[in-house]
Symmetry: D2
């Protein structure tokens, strides 16, 4: 097929530059526009020297006609922006892949409660497809508007889906203890994101309630066929990329006997046997975030310590890749009937 | 009183050099001997340039007479060493503070099971006092042999004691998700401890079972007045010092109503009101490991997210300080009737 | 003597909190005021949790009467601030120790040229004493206004003084290649200081000309008894604290024969024999920044590679300590006739 | 052409795994063997989880027949190994690309002096081509044995070649101040390479003389058409990948007038105009190591601070890529008449 024309709205953030990095190696796509009000006129390669020689593109102010001339528009923007700009594009038949939180939550009241503002475009929410290919591949193929999952929700859902889909574990009292690299906080000049504030230290944040909680519970609720109650505590790591989720769920008494380590291993391997970007590691493994750095891979490990009733799942992704931009490209590949792996096949940088 | 003569056995590791750093500022103690078979004859300040100008001491081969001439001997050795050398010192009336795991577990079979070797000195285990001052201050004052708590066990027990002592939470299904800086793995030339293997990456390890589990369950069991079942998953952080434990326990139905955020906050503040080295932070705080770096402080925060039944406690210590050498000095201060804070009052280095 | 009453102007930056950390352990000083317009009313321990339990102090808006009631006022402010506030304090007999660049350069035109603004208080510049005790100890003892050296200038001058004072090396073509931890850039929310922008990367900056160049050349010129021409290239390290300067100077032909490694080593050892905070390491050593972390120490090493005409000096300090706040306290100790080491004796944290 | 069969000798080190990472994306090459005595029988993907799904290969013990069956053999081994194994392969017509130091130095006595052992295969040294394409592209195309440049020598030579080839600068008194990420020290379990020994600290090493010095002086001497005298001081950075060299050379009096900033900029741009992997950045830029991470690119910047006689060049590469494995593949592409860029086109991971 002819090359897909893509645009990126909000290209100065980390998910924007990650889209550019990955699309530079994707032969089926050409980035024809990238917008930024603040940097309009600046060359992409000036702001991001790593892209020197890969893009001649300059940032431009957002222009709906220019965006509408593309086959697909990626929104790599803070929440609230896509809600305002997407309707005009949808109306003109453009496909939209939103990396922000604007269309992830189906219940408008819940979204407004957690994001503290009225939803700017509730009418499009019902048709937005949640872009987790391991769950919604078919709907993604036919979608015009994709709501890409958040970084934490991707790592947590992929780790818990096999247990909840099969009803092996209780749907309450689930624990998601997750830690993210600092790039997850975005490219904004805040004192508490300084190098000198985050190197050689570790802390939890938003332990009382993080915006990704309702998104996770919505996704897991669908898998469980009923409400799921999760305690989610995110932490900030002294590193740039990577999310590691350590997940704890209680086996139902009825399932305990049948869920030996071997059975759990088999359950996970079968659930993801056909998935190109979920890697169930051998029993006893501990996935490292660096093993997925820059890639669309999620590596999982499942165990049942001391043979007790608590199942532990370890889940590692790159927050900017499978947690954002690479998964967005996986969605694009599916939407346009390309090879789902295209542009996403490079192994991680190690060491 | 006259100055205490102290010796350190196994002084080339990180807990050894941390003892030296802290004792350099302790006017009541003089380090008169430090042993190392491998480095015998080497000046301490040659191996650790940070101590240039603070110590003229040279490492010496272990010699029981030299050690017996001291008032107190610290063992900063791998497990197994103290078991062999402590009996002779105890017999000669020397006080011993063991930073290793040799005397922490009262049940010999459990120790042998987890450490994979016969216990070298079971007869002394009953008289060894577990050196957690927040629980055993009085026994420490009268003890001749102290088993210093492990780093993870210190952070986990201090975080859970108030909940288990009062029976507010279930004693099973407790989760201790902890992460440690790389210094916790010791100063040994192993490939998987290299800088290039641990920077900019994060992973769990020993998720199937870590040696600190039985120590934690022993301590919490005493607090709960019955067996406690914990799932403990340690992680390795890309930083040098610090342990952060994120703890999850389920409120008993009977306790749920009475355990609002305010009540939990008050419970923790009262439990530790008299403790010089446990700091209960204001409700909603997230303790950072850097805020305790190099100090004997443990900072705690307690919350009840979404008002659900899972209580979350955040606990931060320095694994080499409150998790090892500084707590050992706190024990020494108590044993010798000194001011419990002596030599332990410097604030953390920040940034 | 009675306790010295000290105030800190601009206490929310890294040199301010470092002054607080060090003065917490200085029995001869009490911090009675700390100012910050932005944080007026906030408790110091709320902004810096590492100081919980050490200070009850709140930040206050600057008030000249409150400051004038102190024995000494430290300015831990950006350049330009001290110029405006110092005159009133000097007039009222208060001693002032300025950690900023305002009074370091004796030539007003040079200062205005490099700092791009008119000097706010040229009349006080002549009486300001440059606070490098290794050069100006006597004048410091009698001074009312101290201009504390910059971080880079401290590390570079201490490394080159012995060579220039003795005229062993050419006064032109000197190279100062230096690298600093990110805390040197201050505690301000700028995008290019983010953790995600500075971890796992290294770069030079201001290679075309850095404001510390004229300060360094002024100091070295005094030592050489004539103009010195230096090329100074600073670099930004992916770490929080520490400056390492690698210095290169060409031996005069007349001096080459007499300057064997042994002679250079002896020269440095003799020059600093009486200095409590300059440590000339054994020949062949390589000082590490971590060996001086949090301390007032400067560690030096001198060598003559391949016996060629280029002498290499390695110099390591902590940019926030000997490079700023600890040196300021050393100056204060000298001004008030205290033991020069008081409050500055703790060894570095290692690891 | 048909796919090239490649083998890697010594595949468990960082240059070995980097070859595997890069060749996984090179459609013209198939890795048919990878050797390791220690790991014989272990799956590559077990030792390096980042390669799961990319290689089924197992490590095998070195076997000359298996190696001789390949078109090209890469040696990613410590010095001394290739000297012993290469002759048999050369005799059988196999092309060899040696990433070690064995064949870099043409003067055998110099090699033996710096490496402290007799050279195992002096007879092949004359025919070994030094694999710096920017200098020896034509000879590389016709070579059977390539000696890949060291990491430091690559960054230093590319930065100084334009100045020495044109005779603009003095050939003595040149300074190469370089810093490397810890991966440059290799994947060996040494205490001084531990994370806890190298994080948050910085130091010089081998300042008295590093093995890369003679290699650099050999290469620069060829460019200058006569002996070059360099002072080279390497430093160890608290990061994994990247080398940054800051180079200082003195303009000849005759050249000073003609070498304004613009002229130097133009000189560098013209010298490398046709080079796919040398990027001369705009005047005033400061190349960051992260901008070349994982790539074969060398980014340069040249300036003349204060218009004085010292020219400063900043040079950034990835020590494992352009400094080793990627440059080896660039050499292979040239030797086999492939597109020189093949497999080397991905932009760096940023952030």
């Amino acid at each position: 097929m002819s090359v897909i024309k893509a645009a990126i709205v909000g290209g100065t953030g980390y998910t924007g530059v990650e889209l550019l990095r990955l699309l530079a190696g994707h032969s089926g796509v050409e980035v024809s526009a990238i917008t930024s009000r603040a940097e309009a006129g600046t060359a992409v390669a000036e702001l991001f020297p790593s892209l020197r020689g890969h893009y001649d593109l300059k940032f431009t102010a957002p222009d709906v006609d220019a965006l509408a001339a593309c086959d697909v528009v990626f929104f790599a923007t803070p929440h609230g922006v896509a809600q305002a700009q997407v309707p005009a594009l949808i109306a003109r038949g453009v496909r939209v892949i939103d990396l922000s939180a604007d269309f992830r939550i189906q219940d408008i009241a819940t979204w407004e409660d957690w994001y503290g503002q009225p939803h700017g475009c509730p009418e499009l929410v019902p048709q937005a497809v949640y872009g987790l290919p391991e769950v919604n591949r078919d709907q993604i193929a036919g979608a015009q508007l994709i709501a890409c999952p958040g970084c934490y929700p991707t790592s947590v859902q992929l780790g818990l889906l096999p247990l909840l889909e099969t009803g092996l574990v209780e749907s309450t009292g689930i624990i998601a203890n997750a830690a993210s690299g600092a790039s997850g906080a975005g490219r904004q000049g805040k004192t508490d994101l300084l190098f000198a504030e985050n190197n050689d230290t570790f802390r939890a944040y938003a332990a009382g309630g993080h915006r990704h909680l309702p998104e996770i519970e919505q996704g897991l609720g669908r898998a469980a066929g009923g409400p799921v109650e999760l305690t989610f505590v995110p932490h900030l790591l002294p590193m740039v990329r990577g999310i590691h989720a350590t997940l704890y769920a209680k086996l139902k008494d009825s399932a305990a006997a049948a869920s030996a380590q071997e059975a759990l291993q088999q359950l996970f391997e079968q659930r993801y046997a056909a998935e190109p970007f979920v890697d169930v590691m051998p029993a006893g493994s501990h996935p490292q975030t660096r093993s997925v750095k820059g890639t669309n891979m999620c590596r999982l490990s499942v165990m049942r310590p001391q043979g007790r009733d608590t199942v532990v799942v370890l889940s590692a992704i790159d927050n900017l890749a499978k947690g954002a931009s690479a998964q967005a490209i996986q969605n694009m590949n599916i939407m346009f009937g390309l090879n789902e792996n295209q542009g996403l096949e490079s192994p991680a940088l190690l060491p």
